[in-house]
Structure formats: structure tokens, C-alpha cells
């Protein structure tokens, strides 16, 4: 029944052309970013500000979550393969590393930041829209999508891979700590596993995924925030929509990238 319900919502949106209309407006918004900046230094300053906001502002939460995710992965796999003669325990290092690189770090960081950064971007732009700050910029002759949205998207694309790389490092560290402290394997065994069978292509896939997720989070949230109409309630709705849709798009993009690049 639940599936039918969601299907009916999809069909309703589809046949009302709302979906096409939203996609069209989103594409137009992205196209409007490609204009000559009024003052390059101001755009550069805003991009740096966004990078600090997204990067430094998310470091602690990403660090905590990825360390524990690495730890949980190590403990659960250790319990599953413990006692199996065919799989040596030093493989845990390899399993945690590749799990973090290929799946856990990009996806969990993406979903985490969809909540944190996504809601932040949409509510910031939504408040600016409602308090007429965007209108004020328009009146000055500023290309508002380019100035307000462009730097956020650039920051998302470039900062996300850095955060994901940090998440991988901390996840591997967390896996090591959990396994060594839980007496599943020794530090030497874990490090050996970390160093064995490394495929550099996986790291490139991870960085690519992270950039795509960064783009999705920043652009989708900016789209909903920038187009807010109404009052405070509309900002809340835009924030919710941006988080939900970013999460869905991240999961879909994750599947597509994995299917295309790993097959």
C-alpha cells in the first residue's frame, strides 16, 4: 500500500508536469551561474567564506561520525569472520579501508552534510529572499544566482572531497582503535591489512563521488532556498525539501557512479 501511495504521488507530480517544471527551473538556475562576475574579488571572497563554512564548520561532526563508523565496521566484521580459518584477521584492515573509501565515507559524509549544510544553505537563502536582501542585490545590479549560489556550489564541489578524505583517514583510525582495544587483532595485523591490495582507482572514484555529492547538496539546497515564497513556514518547508531531495539524489547518484565506474 505504501508503495502505491508513493507511486501515486510520483504519478500526480509527473502528470502535472511539476517534476519537469522543477527540473527545468533547476537547469535554468545552473545556467544563470555562467556569467561574467561583476567583481571577481568579491566572488572569490564569498567562495572562500563558503569553503570555511562548509569545511571547517563540518569537520568535528564528520570526524566523530566517521571514527565511530570505522570502529563499528571493524567490530562487526571481526565478529563475523572470527573463527573462520580461511579469512585471516589482518584482512580486517583491508576490509575497513576499502569499505570506508568506496562506500561509507562518501555516502555517510554526503548524507550527514545534506542535513547540516543543506538545511543551512536553504534557510540562509530563504531568509535572504523573505527579508528582501536578494531583491536589494538585484536592484544594485548584481547577478544574484551567480553571486549567492555559485560560490556555494564551487565550495561544495571542492571541500567535499577534502572532508571525505579526512573521514576515510579517521574511519580507518577508528577501525584500528576498535579492533586493537577489543582484542580482535593486533595493530601490526591491522596496518598490514591497510597497506595490502590497495587499488588507487578506488580513491579516485571516492573523490569523484564526493564532488558529485557536494554539487548535489549545494545546488539542490540553494535551489529550494533561493525560490522560497511566503514566510517563516516556507523557509522550514524549503529546508526539509532540500534535505530530503539531496539525500535521495545522493543515494541514486551513489548507485549510478558505483555501477558505471566499478563494473
Amino acid at each position: 500500500m505504501r508503495i502505491l501511495y508513493y507511486f501515486s504521488i510520483f504519478a500526480h507530480q509527473f502528470f502535472n508536469m511539476r517534476l519537469f517544471s522543477e527540473i527545468g527551473r533547476f537547469v535554468l538556475m545552473i545556467l544563470s551561474l555562467f556569467t561574467k562576475p561583476e567583481r571577481f574579488s568579491m566572488y572569490w571572497k564569498e567562495t572562500m567564506r563558503q569553503m570555511v563554512n562548509i569545511g571547517i564548520g563540518s569537520l568535528i561532526i564528520v570526524g566523530i561520525v566517521s571514527t565511530f563508523v570505522g570502529g563499528v565496521t571493524a567490530v562487526q566484521f571481526s565478529n563475523q569472520i572470527m573463527g573462520l580459518e580461511l579469512i585471516p584477521m589482518w584482512w580486517l584492515g583491508y576490509i575497513v579501508r576499502d569499505s570506508m573509501i568506496l562506500e561509507l565515507a562518501p555516502t555517510i559524509t554526503g548524507l550527514l552534510l545534506a542535513g547540516k549544510i543543506g538545511s543551512n544553505i536553504s534557510s540562509e537563502l530563504g531568509s535572504m529572499r523573505i527579508s528582501e536582501q536578494i531583491d536589494a542585490l538585484e536592484i544594485m545590479g548584481v547577478n544574484t544566482p551567480a553571486y549567492l549560489i555559485g560560490p556555494k556550489i564551487i565550495a561544495g564541489i571542492f571541500v567535499m572531497p577534502i572532508l571525505v578524505t579526512i573521514a576515510v583517514a579517521l574511519g580507518i583510525f577508528g577501525g584500528g582503535m576498535a579492533g586493537v582495544l577489543g582484542h580482535y587483532y593486533s595493530a601490526q595485523e591491522y596496518i598490514r591489512g591497510n597497506q595490502d591490495m590497495f587499488v588507487p582507482r578506488f580513491a579516485y572514484i571516492m573523490l569523484f563521488k564526493a564532488s558529485v555529492f557536494g554539487f548535489i547538496i549545494s545546488s539542490v539546497s540553494a535551489y529550494y532556498g533561493y525560490n522560497v515564497k511566503g514566510g517563516a513556514l516556507a523557509i522550514g518547508e524549503a529546508s526539509t525539501k532540500s534535505v530530503v531531495n539531496s539525500c535521495i539524489l545522493i543515494i541514486i547518484a551513489n548507485f549510478i557512479i558505483a555501477s558505471l565506474l566499478l563494473s
Binding site: E38, R39, M42, S131, E132, Q133, D135, A136, E138, I139, M140, G141, V142, N143
Partner: protein, 254 residues
């Protein structure tokens, strides 16, 4: 001079502006008045280009904004200053940075020149000493003055004010009105003020346009408005019992 010819604007089925034509002369304070929901703000936003009218023409000294391409429109906007109803100041910037922002973004001035210009504008609106404060730390009247300073910092030819007195006490409202009037004369700007405050009309209104239900119901000077035969406008002006009493006493009108 801003010439408006038969401007119409609808939102869905709702027709907000039903064909308005008028002329706003330069060096004057032109006031748009009307009840809430009469279409004042939509009209003002159509003039400045925030809303695209469905039909009609809007000419800024002969330049029609309706058919303008993006580049010309952006150039024209550099000649426009606007004071918003809610001030629209950037929360993350100080008073000084708010006023300096248009210069940073659009001018080719050196840093020193920009600082001098901002200091001059802040002094002009009597805000010297508040440069380092954030919008959240200053009063409503001060915010309006920051808004005016930001609106005039680029030395615009056209100044638009959307309900500049809303939320202010009567004394501060008069100060803001006087400031708008002085600046208009000083820089020979075409100023359009959107208001429903009769004190503003009597204080600074060189020309008054009264909107009612999306139509221009009356236009004239502030001296003519007190003797209007337009019943709708009369009701609007003398909505307060106090004013109505004074008018009846003065004119004997029932």
C-alpha cells in the same frame, strides 16, 4: 523622469495592476499612496524591475525597461537606489560594510575613495559612530538611515522607498521623511515613495498618486489632496476620527 504607460500585472487569476499610467518628475518626491492590498508594492516592484509587467511600458528618461536586454538593465540598475520596507540590510555585515557593499561590487574606486564615500554617506544620514555595529545592534530608525545611506552611496538618479516609515515612531518617521526630501533636492533625484502615512504626504509629497484596487484613482499635489472630491480618497485620508473631526470643523463638510 519616469514615465509609466498602461502597466498591467496579474498573479495567476488575480489582476493586481489593471492599467496604470503616470509620470514621475525628477527633483521631486513622488508619493504612491493607497490602502493595504491596493497594489502599491507590486507597482513599485514593477517600476524597479523586480516584477515584469504583463503589458505597458516604463521609461526611465526615455529608456524603456520592458524590452531592455540584461546588460542594459544591469547598467540602469546602477542608477537606482532603493530603501526596502524591512530595510534588507545584510545581517552578516557591519553598518559600514553594508553601505560599502555596492561600491565593492560595482564601482572602480580605490579602497581609500570607497571609505571616504561611505563615511560621507553615513555622515549625511547622521550615522557617524555606528560604523562597526551590526544591523541587529541598532534601532529601527538607524536601520532605515543605513538603508538610505546604502541606497545613495552609488549616487543614483532614481530613489525608491517602500514604506520608509513603517514601524517607526512619529518623530523618527518625520526625520526619515525630511532626509528623503533633502536628498532628493540635493542630488536632483527622481524619488518615488510608497506609503500610507498621511504625515509623509503632507510633509514631503510634491506629487501624489492614489491607487485603489489596482487602478490610479487620483493624482495631484499635496495641496490639492485636502480638497479632493474623490470619495474613496477622502475616506482614505480621513480614516482617523481625529482627522475627520478636524476636517469637518475646518470645512463644514459632512
Amino acid at each position: 523622469m519616469i514615465e509609466i504607460i498602461d502597466v498591467k500585472k496579474s498573479f495567476g487569476q488575480q489582476e493586481v495592476l489593471k492599467g496604470i499610467s503616470t509620470i514621475f518628475e525628477s527633483g521631486q518626491c513622488n508619493l504612491i499612496i493607497g490602502r493595504s492590498g491596493s497594489g502599491k508594492t507590486v507597482f513599485l516592484k514593477c517600476i524597479v524591475g523586480l516584477y515584469a509587467p504583463d503589458s505597458g511600458s516604463i521609461g526611465f528618461d526615455g529608456r524603456d525597461v520592458i524590452g531592455m536586454d540584461r546588460k542594459d538593465r544591469q547598467n540602469l540598475r546602477k542608477e537606482i537606489g532603493m530603501l526596502f520596507q524591512g530595510n534588507a540590510l545584510f545581517d552578516s555585515m557591519t553598518v559600514f560594510e553594508n553601505v560599502q557593499f555596492p561600491l565593492d561590487m560595482l564601482s572602480h574606486m580605490s579602497l581609500e575613495e570607497k571609505r571616504e564615500r561611505v563615511a560621507f554617506c553615513l555622515k549625511r544620514v547622521n550615522l557617524t559612530g555606528a560604523e562597526k555595529k551590526y544591523p541587529g545592534e541598532i534601532s529601527g530608525g538607524m536601520m532605515k538611515r543605513v538603508g538610505i545611506a546604502r541606497a545613495i552611496v552609488m549616487n543614483p538618479k532614481y530613489l525608491f522607498c517602500d514604506e520608509p516609515n513603517s514601524g517607526l515612531d512619529p518623530k523618527t518617521a518625520i526625520l526619515i521623511d525630511d532626509l528623503i526630501k533633502e536628498i532628493t533636492i540635493e542630488y536632483n533625484m527622481t524619488t518615488i515613495v510608497n506609503t500610507h502615512d498621511m504625515n509623509s504626504v503632507m510633509g514631503i509629497g510634491d506629487k501624489v498618486v492614489y491607487l485603489s484596487n489596482g487602478l490610479k484613482s487620483w493624482e495631484g499635489s499635496k495641496n490639492e489632496i485636502m480638497h479632493t472630491e474623490n470619495e474613496d480618497l477622502y475616506d482614505f485620508i480621513f480614516a482617523s476620527d481625529f482627522l475627520k473631526g478636524l476636517q469637518k470643523a475646518a470645512t463644514g463638510r459632512k
